[in-house]
Symmetry: C2
Subunit: 251 residues, 2 copies
């Protein structure tokens, strides 16, 4: 038994940010598996089968894709952003780990621009130095590990990108995260809420850790919290967010 | 005075990974500024001016680009990978911060796939959970902050991506970093050395923290060090590296 599965990142939404590899791999697929709204934007051909799913049930989607591949289909599993960053690549490899016969499959991962990078591009250069990416979802991990990582990220004075900050099931987690960080980082730390970058309804909100109102955050928001070096550059048509390449130069 | 500067990510090397936006922005530029080997691969037209530089002197390159823009040129500053991740975006915004007249310029950042994502795609799903990116370069920051961040990343049990691990000027830093991490993380922690992914001479080395030989690392290598959850999946044609979406499920 052999099979072919490509795990493909579509980027944050704008077709400008979808790599040529992603386009090529999707064009070569007989079957495309993914969240319905992502499939809708691909303009698949009539001879390609779309298999939409909702945005949860990642393991079921991964196993379904591998079973299709075992039937000889050329399968593309699509994710927004980068499939390797809080998206489908981990689920597919977890499914492969469960089933030794799937380990011999021809698996390809096509990387993509992830939300953190799209947000950073719009903001200026907030990730110009060392940074962390943390998902606030506690569906699959205890909240205690999120807290441990937020504290460690503050202790390391990393720039912090927060993914999956809020959902109807856990609306208070982003507030909990801000309360924790407000206890350990300076109130003047620059913060950005970058919503739906590259998609309809894009907006940027620049604020500080002391003044941030996390209640405005929704699941389409990527949050960037600065290090002690991060600052806003003002005085132009708009403000930019910068974490410089040097550390400690001002001390 | 006004001017236009685009700060453009070319991706890790393969044209498959360069976004349509990057291609469009470079095609629209009258002047392209960047490291010589990056310019060579762009196939610029005769009417476009290439301004190659060496890979250091980022600030001089940034100021030069802004001065060209002030003369009315349409300037693209190119970086490998993502310009926002250890690349040119921070240098350009630092130059903008220095000179208020440049703050009114029309600045655009075009994100790109960064080395960490290309490496992750080849490895499977090593960044499937929370992660940090740390540059081991101490040209612009004290080594003490690198050590502080490595310790914090270990304390937070993040997956760690290490950029700029070695150079002729500081060949021992990667060994110092491994010695530090070997003191605080399990010897069985999966480690990958991903060299020149998407370029000539691509190679992947899978090992463990206890057995890793950092002396094989060069400046073209991106290092991924797992969390306590990261593992290799073996038994197929090749091994994969997975950090699963769940945390603590095995405890």
């Amino acid at each position: 038994m052999t099979g072919r599965v490509a795990i493909v990142g579509l980027g944050p939404g704008s077709p400008e940010w979808m790599t040529p590899e992603a386009s090529t791999v999707i064009a070569a697929a007989s079957d495309v598996v993914g969240y319905g709204p992502y499939l809708d934007r691909l303009g698949l051909r009539e001879d390609q089968r779309a298999h939409p799913s909702d945005n949860r049930q990642e393991m079921e989607r991964a196993r379904f894709a591998l079973r299709l591949a075992a039937e000889g289909r050329a399968v593309a599993v699509v994710s927004g952003g980068d499939p390797g960053v809080f998206a489908m690549a981990a689920a597919v490899f977890e499914a492969i780990e469960e089933a030794p016969e799937w380990r011999r499959f021809d698996i390809r991962v096509a990387p993509g621009v992830t939300a953190m990078q799209a947000a950073a591009a719009r903001l200026g250069a907030p990730l110009g130095h060392d940074f962390c990416a943390i998902s606030l979802s506690d569906n699959l991990k205890p909240w205690a590990i999120v807290e441990r990582r937020l504290r460690a990220a503050a202790e390391g004075d990393f720039v912090i990108a927060l993914y999956n900050p809020a959902s109807r099931a856990r609306p208070t987690r982003v507030g909990d995260a801000f309360a924790l960080l407000q206890g350990v980082k300076e109130p003047a730390t620059p913060v950005a809420f970058a919503r739906a970058v590259g998609r309809a309804g894009e907006s940027l909100t620049l604020t500080t850790l002391g003044e941030a109102d996390p209640s405005i955050v929704d699941m389409a928001t990527l949050i960037v919290i600065g290090s002690s070096e991060t600052r806003f550059i003002e005085g132009g048509a708009r403000a930019w967010m910068l974490t410089p390449r040097a550390y400690g130069a001002r001390r």
